[in-house]
């Protein structure tokens, strides 16, 4: 049973007596924390419960050591709306980790989730509730209701096609603070994101997978890889970009391979045709490359 937390709850701490010298720093820190608690905008790092993502580099970058609970987080899918499964996969993997703590809710505008795919990303369908909200207004309402439900859900994910305005995200953040659930707002329109009250904003895009040796076309797609970027983080302003691969039921960070290490002749957009080598016209040799 998770205790319900919200910054600023409980009686305000006793104001410390005003001292000079080295105690001033302590006094200022205490005052800052108290002010942040009252305003509700700054989140004291030691007061929140976090979800450890399991990616050490990302966890280090986040000022709380993980994803803070009781907050709204925004995930923006870079790239085209429907052709991009990376952001969906990232969110599904996050929900999979969160589903260990309780049921999770997914609000979709279209009924197109496939359970076998969710299972591969670690999200068991038995702990997932799917809500179909045809209109944007209904989706936002359902998201707010889900976040407001006290201690019923571990997390809620909403796919809102047009994103949410500042006022709407502020309401969602307040609802999440009240209940302690994590709210994930998935926007698939990419582009410029309006200002929002979400605590963190992520941008997730596709990344080419690697598997085996070389990049021949008759080799299957490897383990999914996503380009995860922390675009905005309230408070400390930390940012970062990583490439994350999902393999074997868990994710890990991988290093992005330098382009020159790839087989020559394969540039973005070109494809190796499986034809007899003798039929192809000879290619000009590239720097550091070898003929295929």
């Amino acid at each position: 049973m998770r205790p319900r937390r919200s910054p600023g709850s409980g009686p305000p701490p006793e104001p410390p007596p005003l001292l000079a010298g080295s105690d001033r720093r302590a006094v200022l820190a205490a005052l800052r924390e108290r002010l942040g608690g009252l305003k509700g905008t700054a989140l004291a790092p030691d007061r929140l419960r976090v979800l450890r993502l399991g990616l050490p580099a990302v966890d280090r970058t986040l000022p709380w050591g993980g994803l803070p609970r009781g907050c709204l987080h925004e995930v923006v899918a870079t790239g085209e709306a429907l052709a991009d499964g990376a952001a969906t996969g990232f969110c599904a993997a996050l929900l999979g980790r969160l589903s260990r703590d309780g049921p999770v809710l997914w609000i979709v505008p279209r009924d197109d989730l496939f359970a076998r795919g969710l299972v591969e990303l670690g999200l068991p369908p038995s702990r997932l509730l799917v809500v179909r909200a045809r209109r944007r207004v209904e989706g936002l309402w359902a998201f707010e209701e889900a976040l407001r439900a006290p201690a019923a859900l571990a997390a809620a994910l909403a796919e809102i096609d047009g994103g949410a305005s500042l006022i709407q995200t502020r309401r969602l953040q307040l609802a999440a603070e009240g209940s302690g659930a994590i709210g994930l707002l998935l926007r698939r329109d990419g582009g410029n994101a309006p200002p929002s009250a979400a605590v963190t904003r992520w941008r997730v895009g596709v990344a080419p997978s690697r598997g085996g040796n070389g990049d021949r076309r008759d080799e299957g797609p490897g383990a999914p890889r996503w380009r995860v970027e922390l675009a905005r983080c309230r408070g400390k302003g930390a940012v970062g970009a990583w490439t994350v691969e999902w393999r074997g039921g868990d994710w890990r960070q991988v290093e992005e391979d330098a382009p020159t290490r790839r087989g020559a002749g394969v540039e973005a957009g070109a494809v190796g045709v499986a034809a007899e080598p003798g039929d192809r016209p000879p290619r000009p040799a590239r720097a550091g490359g070898r003929r295929r």
Partner: protein
């Protein structure tokens, strides 16, 4: 005691439903399957005049009456109809019950105990006339008999000489029943056959016979029924159908009210009263109706439903408040009536220990959330995914309404929750509801596509896997010309940027039947 007899209940029910069937003297019968043949169960008067009788085969009946209308007998529907009619007869007396039909007199019957009620309607004869008139207006041919014992009333209803002669004066059962045939005593067929063989045709023939001899020859049934009819010995036990309890609270306002805040507060007050009624009865409400009667005579209704029965006022108030906001008060509301339309028994939950209360509280919160979402977004907005036994991807999962109960939190040594979903080839994260056609270029016959065009964009394939063959389910009855009938070869492809798609080719190159077509079915993570 009043016994009403509806001899043509089955056919009258069908005639009421479809007036053109029973009109202009077209014979109407019901039948049922009996050991391989179809036999008649009930015939209406027009069919009886043509010589049809129950027990005849349907083929013979059609030979006798070519224009016959025949429907399958539905005893359950007839029983329900009889229940409803018995409930309607509650306007005469609170004690009504449907009657079991006797094979000698098919149709249905209703018992009414009119002791002490008859004077309210102007006497027994007036009551009987009123009842018959009402049943006739509903479309049922009926006969009724009044007597001081159920058996005598039953006999009077079935074999009374004419329509007017149905009332047996108190104490006159012996004299009134004497000329009637023994079949009116509700005896079994074997007893009736034996009595016929013995030459005992009228009830009056049984009076002088010694009871011991009757019992020895025919069993105790004859004497029992005779005693019941004549009022000797014990009374016959017949249980009335008690009316279902209605849970209702209403409030009449001294002047019309149109403000939303006041209406919400009044609704909350009504809800508290209704919930105390429900709690006292040990039931929970599944559906609530709040009828708002406006000053101009119209009515608006707000309906709220829950997944599980409950009598907690807070939960119901939140559900009802949303629906109440949608009803237009108009000129003002004068009368508010709150009724629990659907109730179910509710087990009381003990909330003593804190730990148990917390777990129950969590589950209750989830149930409350599901109810709220379902209330606004539609009856089955919140769903769970479950596995179905099919290897076709679009049939391999189903969605059903989220059961109100949340699954228990996983225990430490429980098997992993994803187990059972099948290890197998990799499946996409999103499956399009309808596969979208694409134009693909692929080396024949089995190679993955080289590039394809989807929604106007050209995608060049960098990596591909497959084919995975999914054959149609030949055991399904209607292969037809739809997508299921053709073999599919699935390929998972990835372009140079890392986008992954799930394509399939419908049809094979080396078989006949047109060129194969390519579709995009899903997107990987």
């Amino acid at each position: 005691m009043l016994s009403a007899w509806l001899p043509n209940l089955a056919t009258d029910r069908l005639a009421r439903r479809a007036p053109e069937v029973g009109a202009d003297d077209r014979p109407l019968v019901t039948f049922r399957a009996d050991h391989g043949t179809l036999r008649l169960v009930a015939v209406d008067p027009a069919a009886a005049r043509l010589g049809l009788a129950p027990g005849m085969t349907l083929a013979d009946a059609r030979a006798l009456a070519p224009g016959l209308a025949a429907e399958e007998a539905d005893p359950a529907a007839e029983a329900r109809l009889l229940d409803r009619l018995a409930a309607r007869c509650r306007r005469y007396t609170p004690w009504t019950a449907p009657d079991v039909s006797h094979p000698a007199f098919p149709g249905g019957g209703i018992w009414l105990d009119v002791t002490g009620c008859a004077h309210l309607f102007g006497g027994e004869a007036a009551l009987r006339r009123d009842l018959l008139a009402r049943l006739a207006s509903l479309g049922f041919a009926a006969r009724a008999g009044v007597a001081d014992t159920p058996g005598a009333a039953w006999a009077a209803a079935r074999v009374a000489a004419s329509e007017d002669d149905g009332i047996i004066p108190p104490g006159g059962a012996v004299a009134a029943l004497a000329p009637l045939p023994v079949a009116c005593l509700r005896l079994s067929a074997s007893a009736l056959a034996t009595l016929a063989r013995l030459g005992l045709r009228r009830v009056g023939d049984l009076y002088p016979l010694p009871r011991a001899a009757l019992t020895a020859r025919l069993g105790g049934e004859v004497c029992r029924r005779l005693d019941q009819a004549l009022g000797r010995g014990e009374r016959e036990p017949i249980s009335p159908r008690l009316p279902e309890a209605r849970y209702r609270a209403w409030l009449a306002l001294p002047e019309p009210v149109a403000e939303a805040g006041v209406l919400h507060a009044l609704a909350r007050r009504l809800l508290d009263r209704l919930c105390s009624q429900l709690e006292a009865a040990g039931v929970g409400a599944r559906r609530l109706w709040l009828d708002l009667h406006r000053a101009d005579g119209s009515t608006g209704r707000a309906v709220a439903g829950t997944g599980r029965p409950t009598h907690a006022p807070d939960r119901l108030h939140r559900l009802l408040a949303d629906r109440l906001a949608e009803v237009d008060p108009g000129q003002g509301i004068e009368l508010m009536v709150l009724e629990a339309a659907v109730v179910e028994p509710l087990d009381p939950v003990q909330a003593a220990l804190k730990r148990i209360a917390d777990d129950a509280g969590e589950a209750a919160d989830l149930v409350a959330l599901i109810d709220r979402l379902n209330g606004r977004l539609g009856g089955e907005a919140v769903r769970r995914l479950y596995r179905r036994a099919s290897h076709l991807p679009e049939r391999s999962q189903g969605r059903r309404a989220a059961a109100a109960g949340a699954p228990p939190p996983p225990k430490a040594d429980a098997p992993p929750p994803c187990q059972g979903w099948g290890d197998g080839p990799v499946r996409p994260l999103r499956l399009l509801a309808r596969p979208e056609p694409i134009e693909a270029t692929a080396p024949v016959p089995d190679e993955p596509p080289v590039l394809f065009r989807w929604r106007g964009r050209v995608v060049r394939v960098a990596r591909a896997s497959g084919p995975e063959r999914v054959a149609p389910e030949w055991w399904r009855e209607t292969p037809g010309a739809d997508l299921d009938a053709v073999t599919r070869d699935y390929y998972g492809v990835e372009d140079a940027d890392g986008r992954r798609f799930w394509l399939f080719r419908e049809g094979l190159y080396d078989r006949g039947g047109g060129a194969p077509r390519w579709y995009l079915h899903g997107l990987f993570a």
